[in-house]
Symmetry: C2
Subunit: 248 residues, 2 copies
C-alpha cells in the first residue's frame, strides 16, 4: 500500500488574472493552477483543499491549502521550489510544511483575518487600480466606528451573506474590526472565527453606506436583529479584499 | 493676439502599460497620452513639457508637467476632471495649478526625490510584480550603508550615467539616501539637485552589487574618483523605481 503525507501550503496571489480560488470549468481558478502544478510534478492528479474560497479579483497574502502526496517524494523546500517553477508568477507558494495528523485546510481552521482597502479620494491613484475600492465621496470615520461597535461580537450574520444555495449555520463571532485612516487610504481589518459567503465585502459595503450618510447606523442594528429577513444588499467590490491569515 | 496661461500639472502613473514618459513613434509615451487628452479637449495640439523623462516601467507619484492653454478656457478643477476623463486610468492628473511667470517643468526644477523598492527574499511576492526589483540572495545592510556614505554629497557622477549622446555637466549633489529595511522590503530614497540619465537605477544596481558581496565598497570610491573612465555597468530594473517629488 502506498504511503502518503499531507502537505500544508501557504499561498499568496494577485487575484486579478484568475477566476477566484475555486476550480472552474475554464480552469483558471487558483485551485486549478495549483492542481495542475502538482499533476505536472507527480504525473498524476491530486486532490487539493483550500481554507476558503476567494472570489475573482480577491487577493491573498496567506491562503492555506492541503494536499496528499506520495510519502518522502521531495524535501519540503524542494516542493516549494518545484511548485513555484510550475505556477504562474501571480501565484506563489510561500511556505510548505508537513501537516499534523488529521489536518484539513478548511475544517481545521479556527479563525481568519481579512483586510479591506478603500481609496477615499476624488481621484483613484493609478497604482491602486485592482488593489482597492475607489470611493470618491467623503466617508465619515465616526459613522464607521459606530457601525463597527454594533458588528463586533457574536451575531447571526445572515443579513450579511450572499446566498449560495447551501443551508448553513449563520452565527459567527467577529473578534475585532480594526479601522485605520490615512490621508487617502482607509484600511479595515476583520478577524473572526469564520466568515459567511461574501460577508467581509457585505460588511464593508454596509459600513461604507452608513459612512456615506445614505443609511443611519440603526440600519446595521436592524439587519442584525432580524437575520436574513432583509439583506444588506450592498457588496464592496472584490479588488479591495485580501485574505491575510488563517488560524488553526 | 490670443492670450495663453501656463498650467502646472502633477501627474501620477503606473509605468507598466506605457513606453516611458517621453513621446514615442508608437504614441504610447505618457507624454503622448497627455498631449492627446489636451488635443481632444482643445481641438488642437499643445506643447507639453515634463520635469524629466522616466523610462518604460518606471512609476510616478508626482511627475510635473507644464503646458500653455488658451487663457481662462476652464477653471483649474475642470481641467483636472476633463483631463482625467480623457486619459487612461493608469495616468491621473492629481493636481492642476496656474504656473507662475516663467515657470518651466524641467528647467525650473531645483531638486527631485526618487524611491527604489527591492523585494529581498527568495520568493517574489505576487503583489510586488512590476513594483519592485526581486533580489533573491541576501543583501548586506551594512554594505549598503557604507556605499551610501560614499555617494552622498557633491560628486561627478559620470560613472553612474548611461550615455544618451548629449554632452552635459555630470556633477550633481545628492542630499540624502535614506535606506529602510523591512522584513522583505528594502526601500531606498534618493534626493538630489538633479539626476543623470538612469543614475538612480545605476546607483541602486551598484549599491546592490556591493551589498551582494560581488564588489568591495572601494569600487564605489574608484567610480567616483575617475568619473566616466569606468561605468558602474549595473543597472537596477525600471519597475522598482518611483518618481516621488519634484522641487521648484
Amino acid at each position: 500500500m502506498e504511503r502518503f503525507e499531507r502537505l500544508k501550503l501557504t499561498v499568496a496571489y494577485d487575484g486579478r488574472p484568475f477566476s477566484g480560488w475555486q476550480s472552474q470549468p475554464n480552469r483558471n481558478g487558483i485551485q486549478d493552477h495549483m492542481k495542475l502544478a502538482f499533476a505536472e510534478i507527480l504525473g498524476r492528479p491530486v486532490i487539493l483543499h483550500g481554507a476558503g474560497r476567494t472570489d475573482a479579483g480577491v487577493h491573498a497574502f496567506a491562503q492555506v491549502a492541503h494536499v496528499d502526496v506520495p510519502y518522502g517524494k521531495y524535501a519540503l523546500r524542494t516542493w516549494t521550489a518545484a511548485l513555484n517553477a510550475h505556477l504562474p508568477s501571480e501565484i506563489r507558494v510561500l511556505n510548505c510544511t508537513r501537516a499534523r495528523e488529521g489536518f484539513h485546510a478548511q475544517y481545521s481552521a479556527v479563525g481568519k483575518v481579512y483586510t479591506y482597502r478603500i481609496w477615499n479620494h476624488p481621484i483613484h491613484h493609478p497604482l491602486e487600480i485592482g488593489r482597492s475600492w475607489h470611493v470618491a465621496h467623503p466617508l465619515d470615520l465616526d459613522a464607521f466606528l459606530a457601525a463597527r461597535t454594533l458588528l463586533v461580537g457574536t451575531h447571526d450574520f445572515a443579513s450579511f451573506a450572499a446566498n449560495r444555495g447551501v443551508a448553513e449555520e449563520t452565527t459567527r463571532t467577529i473578534y475585532y474590526i480594526q479601522i485605520k485612516r490615512g490621508r487617502e487610504l482607509l484600511t479595515l481589518e476583520f478577524a473572526a472565527n469564520g466568515f459567511l459567503y461574501r460577508m467581509v465585502r457585505m460588511l464593508t459595503g454596509s459600513m461604507a453606506k452608513v459612512a456615506s450618510g445614505r443609511k443611519p447606523v440603526d440600519w446595521i442594528d436592524q439587519l442584525l436583529a432580524e437575520p436574513g429577513k432583509q439583506k444588506a444588499n450592498t457588496t464592496a467590490p472584490p479588488q479591495g479584499l485580501y485574505l491575510l491569515k488563517v488560524f488553526y
